[in-house]
Symmetry: C2
Subunit: 538 residues, 2 copies
């Protein structure tokens, strides 16, 4: 068996069917191996797009794979791979590379920066595990080590495969069994006993659900747990939709002062916050406007369980959720869902506003669609939407995520049609990946919130001429790359366009024109918090 054939065999065994990237001369033997493995190469228009495709695929399938060339290819994905690290998305980066036998030559090979190990060293900063397969006797071991880290810790991994190692004969490799080191049984029991006692004694327990629930495949378990306890469930912004948002126990996204009142009350008034797989980030805490008393928090993540101020290292989120799910004597509470706030109705012929646009998307948060938001107002505004599946760069907050993510998402779950919500600034970055969708028979609906500027920056920043974006003919652009589209200006036209898009067989872009300074209610609240921080710097 050859080294690359074995690598792709392991990847297929994880349920992966597609690999994202762009070939280059150092990656040609790798691509030849990829093709004979039966995996389908998905060629992006630009490597940053390939990175976001793999990220979305990883979130839905448990592993996303990139195949890139050295230098110009690999180094073009540092941002999406860093984003995947920050948000715990299990990507495996495969990079071609110059021949291992050339490394001692001192020659300058194209695509090289300072030396042969520059790219490896860069990727060590943005991955959980990285290796250059330059040593014939350890290559298989290194593949096992890096892939296991990706699967266990959900952080990206990096494998560099020199051209003369791709077809290395490796004989019969040992078994690949990725396993986490388990804590001793008494540690588990002590943690479980204390958590259970705290929950049972609490008068107003609440579940505060974060992104790791989805990354570690615990969504169904948490639903079972919430129904058994019958307690309110809030999520973080980064963990939006890890709990089904149309579920009766769901009370909204808690992000400090910026989320709905019901979520603020339930979380901040609780005497036992069961925080499951959340990350304490500036965005999740509404730019530090959250008020959570650590003495009342049980926090479980993929590394440890923490109760008030003491830690149980090695007792994980998965351990705790499964224990509670199966626990027979958990008290069932009384819970009455909060009344939804009355929507203010405006005339449907009026100029389209961001709040209206979001309100009209509500019916699409169902089992037939995946909602994917880019950053800025598309991310913050979507807090008000109830969706079943939601993808976003909700913490790292990189622009340009959404359109390429739609490609990865629809390949990973073909029965859900992606609905992309993206601003004009972000669409300019990676919107051409719509062509990649078209190439593979996918049909995302792209809603372009076209306000002609970097609105989310402008409403928090100092005055300046550097927020404006000149107009493009986005519908013509969508048609030029094989899609279709329509421009709308009013709420009524937007609703009609959504229906048109829903019946269109291919990629469809709705160019939704919004006034330059018109932003959603959640973004207005967030901006005030950011302006407060900026004012302290004077």
């Amino acid at each position: 068996m050859k080294l690359a054939d074995y690598l792709f065999h392991l990847i297929r065994r994880q349920g992966v069917e597609h690999v994202f990237g762009i070939p280059g001369d150092f990656a040609l033997p790798l691509y030849a191996a990829l093709e004979r493995s039966g995996l389908e190469p998905i060629l992006a228009t630009h490597e940053p797009g390939a990175g976001f495709m793999a990220d979305a695929y990883a979130r839905m399938r448990g592993l996303g794979v990139l195949a890139l060339t050295y230098g110009a290819g690999g180094l073009n994905t540092v941002n999406p791979v860093a984003a995947a690290y920050a948000e715990k998305s299990p990507i495996l980066v495969l990079s071609g590379a110059p021949e291992a036998r050339l490394r001692a030559s001192g020659f300058m090979i194209h695509h090289i920066v300072k030396g042969f190990d520059s790219q490896l060293r860069v990727f060590q900063e943005v991955t959980g595990a990285a290796a250059a397969l330059t040593n014939r006797s350890t290559a298989v071991q290194e593949i096992h080590r890096v892939l296991a880290e990706v699967l266990i810790r959900k952080r990206p991994g990096y494998l560099e495969i020199p051209r003369d190692m791709v077809n290395l004969e490796i004989g019969r490799p040992g078994p690949f069994r990725p396993r986490r080191v388990r804590p001793p049984q008494p540690a588990l029991q002590e943690a479980f006993r204390e958590v259970l006692a705290r929950i049972q004694q609490a008068r107003r327990p609440v579940i505060y659900a974060g992104v790791e629930i989805e990354r570690f495949g615990l969504r169904a378990d948490v639903v079972t747990l919430a129904e058994k306890m019958n307690v309110p469930v809030a999520t973080t912004l980064m963990g939006k939709a890890v709990f089904p948002e149309k579920h009766r126990n769901f009370i909204g996204t808690y992000m400090g002062r910026l989320g709905p009142l019901a979520a603020i009350q339930a979380v901040e008034d609780s005497d036992c916050v069961l925080s499951l797989g959340t990350l304490t980030t500036d965005v999740n805490t509404g730019i530090f406007t959250a008020h959570l008393d650590p003495r009342k928090v049980i926090h479980a993540n993929s590394e440890e369980v923490c109760i008030s101020f003491h830690h149980f290292p090695g007792v994980t989120l998965t351990d705790l959720v499964r224990f509670l799910r199966d626990c027979r004597n958990l008290r069932r509470r009384r819970f009455s869902p909060p009344r939804p706030p009355a929507a203010r109705r405006r005339g449907r012929g009026d100029a389209l506003r961001m709040d209206d646009l979001l309100a009209e998307l509500d019916p699409y948060g169902d089992q037939h669609h995946t909602l994917i938001a880019d950053v800025g107002d598309c991310l913050f505004g979507s807090v008000s939407l109830k969706t079943e599946v939601f993808l976003a760069s909700g913490f790292y907050a990189t622009m340009g995520f959404a359109v390429p993510a739609a490609v990865g998402a629809q390949l990973a779950e073909p029965r859900r049609r992606p609905i992309v919500l993206v601003g004009d600034g972000a669409f300019r970055m990676t919107g051409l990946e719509l062509a990649t969708a078209r190439d593979h028979g996918l049909n995302p609906i792209v809603i372009l919130a076209n306000n002609g500027n970097f609105a989310s920056l402008q409403c928090m920043g100092p005055p300046g001429g550097f927020y404006d974006l000149k107009a493009w003919d986005y519908v013509a652009l969508a048609r030029a790359i094989g899609g279709d589209g329509i421009q709308v200006h009013t709420r009524r036209e937007f609703v009609q366009a959504l229906r048109l898009a829903d019946s269109a067989p291919g990629c469809f872009l709705i160019d939704a024109v919004i006034a330059p300074n018109e932003v959603s209610t959640p973004l207005r609240q967030l901006s005030a918090a950011v302006r407060h921080i900026l004012a302290q710097n004077r």
Copy 2:
């Protein structure tokens, strides 16, 4: 005076008028300072494009500046900054960052990867000098150190400026005087004496000119020197056009077996190769097909002079070129220019071929145009073109360089209209930066060598389905973003389109349709050399 105001003051003093980038929340105070400095911010559609704009600007003006946000912005330019490192282009990267006072907090801030120093550590791998300005007492010193390194060594530098440091009052900064440490006078004299003796004794001396001639502003000096000695001048591919290619002493690009015969003979038969600022790279040496006997080579670069096998550290290219230029007793040789090979004429109504396309571009290599080639056949094919100014990623070989480089080049030298030669694969990556050109009243002519595949990869790689690119309507795309264009299929139509483009006031795209497997003569030769290397890996 405030820290950022002082920084932009230093930058303006270097002759810089434009700064490239995209704002983000961590860069807003930096952008406000940029705007009040009088420098013009040029907003790209995507950060990789901004990187190539700054690279081209740096090559023509001596310094190019990027202003980016933290994480999602900065890490999106690792590839273009690495390219600038590899090719010695003096870029200064300015990145906004979270408040210095937040760094000890342990909070997770958006756009962060592993920690606050992740981005700095990544940039240390692709720059010559890097600093995060987190210390109030050393911030000015660090600016001086990094900027001096960029100006002296022509490698990119990186400065990270936290939001709460932008408006730091710095009092009266000390003088900024970037200076290289000079070798002792006797070392210079010993080197010069030996070089001169070797040149005088040689029977067939030749100048072999490389990229550093342009980076260190020595073009006019080398022309004077060549005319005084009256010797043949060849250049490397990376140094293409550092010597005027319509000059009578110019004999072509020497890249091993792959360049013109006159250049091979003059360089390889010479008993004294005066190699000025060249880099020994795989591309420059025609994938290692060059045969240069080191005993016959005098090599000068920005760090040292090397004669046969001994080195004079600290004696630089600039020192040597100026010495020889002013030397009174250099022997004048006899030189007769080689006869140009007879061009094979084909019917102008025939389907367009790459060789024809390149031949028709020859008249545009004049003082009114800058020729900019992307990689692949556009780079290798252009070896046969004679141009006055030529920009390309000639060593690092990153795709997507050319269209954004046209923006930087035309801002740097407004009297030269850029002519961009780019394949369809590379155009998909960064072609939308044409909109940035349009936004600033620039008018590059883009010649899209549209062969519907990654031709340069396919002709050297194994068989596979991963070379093909589906068709786009590139002319409609150019129009959607405010440009114009036309599609052509024959040599006659191409010539007519060039005339149309020349009279068009704005951005103009020529979609030149070429058969999928039709490549230039130089690329065919190069591919054979690469296939030979790949065959050794089996």
